[in-house]
């Protein structure tokens, strides 16, 4: 827990972020077996806004995201050091035995749309019934509500019994977002949600993200800088330093894009532009 924090090789200027801090990590380290993937990440994610995690491939963006809802537990050989706080709870200590309770509060959307091979209805009803909603009317109420929220109701409202696999890629991804929303999480993690979609679907999802940030704290991993510019309120840049992912710089989107303070950030932004 009290890992010796090495001298951070980069400037990490903390600045006052508007609003409450919803998620923050303190000296977060992650390794797969003996191979370190993340080192010394301390980040603050403000609530009810969109935070974009940017950086080149291999800089540990997705690994970082997985730490936030303990998807890292999935493979047995991972070890996590440091701490992650959700509100006032340490997710490893306070919610230690029960990642389920954590994941109820932190939803996730993946790179590839991953609806279950069942009907649209069942995809959305499944997490609800698991968490104790048995009343059919209540179920359909919630399902209609989330489908409207992601703008799918008009498109699929009449065919909820169809297999989710018959939907287009963009629709599937919005269904997955809807599915993450049925549990009313506080945080929504999105791992490159548009990377497999065409530009039109991408635009829909981006608009959707803009609408959702009023109610949820959203963390988006993306390697598309233009997208980060379009949707993000806050930005964190990760970089692969000697094979290990590190946080280089974080701050409001406006500041990072206009006045990057770290030279790596400048290089990255210029390279992409």
């Amino acid at each position: 827990m009290d890992r010796i924090t090495e001298a951070v090789t980069c400037t990490q200027k903390q600045e006052n972020t508007s609003g409450n801090i919803c998620l923050c990590t303190e000296s977060l380290c992650l390794s797969y077996g003996t191979r370190a993937a993340l080192e010394n990440v301390s980040i603050r994610i403000p609530s009810r806004s969109v935070t974009a995690i940017i950086g080149p491939s291999g800089s540990g963006k997705s690994s970082f995201l997985c730490c936030l809802n303990r998807m890292t537990d999935l493979s047995g050989s991972t070890t996590v050091g440091g701490s992650v706080h959700l509100g006032e709870h340490d997710i490893h200590r306070d919610l230690g035995k029960n990642p389920i309770a954590l994941r109820r509060r932190v939803g996730m959307v993946f790179q590839l749309p991953n609806p279950f091979p069942f009907s649209i209805w069942k995809n959305l009803a499944l997490p609800l019934t698991h968490h104790g909603v048995a009343n059919k009317r209540e179920l359909s109420g919630i399902i209609e509500q989330v489908l409207r929220r992601v703008g799918l109701w008009e498109e699929v409202g009449g065919r909820l019994r169809d297999s989710a696999l018959t939907l287009s890629g963009g629709q599937q991804q919005r269904l997955c977002i809807a599915r993450a929303l049925v549990l009313e999480p506080e945080v929504l993690l999105m791992d490159e949600p548009c990377s497999s979609l065409d530009p039109l679907s991408t635009k829909r999802i981006e608009t959707l993200i803009g609408q959702l940030k009023d109610r949820y704290t959203i963390v988006v991993v993306t390697h598309d800088l233009a997208q980060a510019r379009r949707v993000a309120d806050h930005v964190a840049l990760f970089w692969n330093v000697d094979g290990v992912g590190r946080l280089i710089e974080q701050g409001s989107a406006a500041r990072i894009f206009q006045h990057p303070q770290h030279e790596l950030t400048t290089t990255y932004l210029e390279g992409q532009l």
Binding site: R93, L95, R104, H130, G132, E184
Partner: protein, 302 residues
């Protein structure tokens, strides 16, 4: 201690959502975990019971003499040398007949027929039917065709030919898997060098598919060794050393069956023979499985 206390306090704040659902979920999770562990433990116990039974009762009667002595007094004493020879003959006949047919069919299906075409679908379904056919039905067929119509009588030849029909679909399937695991690029490279189909096959594909072909032969051998019902009415079950393929003879499986069912006081010898049979089959099966893993790894790498 301290930790669990804090956990309790903190879940209180999560209660706003539905705690009852969570509690139920934990209970059913526990029950289900118990069920899967229970299933596996049941299987393990039965497995140990079965294998331990064969091992403990069989190993006492096992010796080199047992392997090289003739069957005496219906198998109550002596050994199983003639049975082993008959088994080898029947399996050899079955493989010698089935192998070329299986390899040829596999080559045609995997190399010449379109993979999803109606013809290859039909052919594959007919193999599946053949693979699923009860062995006793093969026995009846073999008895009618080889024993009576062709006049081979109760003989190792009749038994071997019947088994050849039986092991064909399994060998074909293994051969097809082996050939399909050969990377497409090999064929394209051959085509680009303007080689004929025959010489691509001979010089490139078959050598690359050897693991699959060996797996097929072993699989067929395993099937043949384990078979009893199809042989009762084709090879017969004489216990003496066969002198030609036209003699009747029993395989080790039939010997186990006969000792267990028809010989009072034959149990220990039945177990000893069963132990030899099981060890042979386990060796064959493990080799096949490892070959299969290897083939899969190769095809993934390619």
């Amino acid at each position: 201690m301290n930790l669990s206390f804090r956990t309790n306090v903190n879940t209180d704040s999560v209660r706003a959502t539905s705690l009852i659902g969570l509690r139920n979920g934990q209970l059913s999770d526990l029950l289900f975990t118990a069920a899967v562990w229970g299933a596996f433990l049941t299987v393990t116990v039965v497995f140990l019971w079965l294998v331990g039974d064969v091992l403990i009762r069989g190993v006492g009667a096992l010796s080199w003499d047992f392997v090289v002595s003739p069957v005496i007094d219906s198998g109550r004493s002596g050994g199983i040398a003639p049975v082993l020879v008959s088994t080898a003959c029947i399996v050899a006949v079955a493989l010698a007949v089935a192998f070329p047919l299986a390899l040829a069919s596999a080559i045609l299906i995997s190399e010449f027929l379109p993979r999803t075409g109606t013809v290859s679908r039909l052919v594959i379904v007919s193999f599946d039917v053949l693979a699923g056919m009860p062995s006793i039905v093969f026995g009846l067929f073999g008895n009618a065709l080889f024993n009576q119509l062709l006049g081979f009588g109760y003989s190792l030849l009749s038994g071997g030919l019947t088994l050849a029909c039986m092991v064909l679909p399994f060998m074909i399937k293994a051969n097809i898997d082996g050939l399909r695991a050969v990377p497409r690029s090999y064929r394209e490279a051959g085509d680009a060098l303007a080689m004929s189909r025959a010489s691509i096959l001979w010089h490139v594909l078959l050598p690359a598919a050897i693991p699959g072909i060996i797996a097929g032969v072993l699989l067929g051998m395993g099937r043949a060794l384990a078979e009893t019902a199809a042989l009762l009415f084709t090879s017969g079950y004489v216990t003496r050393m066969p002198e030609s393929l036209m003699d009747s003879g029993r395989t080790i499986s039939i010997h186990v069956y006969d000792l267990a069912m028809n010989v009072a006081g034959g149990d220990q010898m039945a177990y000893a023979s069963a132990l030899i049979l099981v060890v042979l089959l386990i060796i064959i099966n493990f080799t096949v499985v490892r070959l299969g893993d290897w083939i899969q790894r190769c095809s993934l790498r390619a």
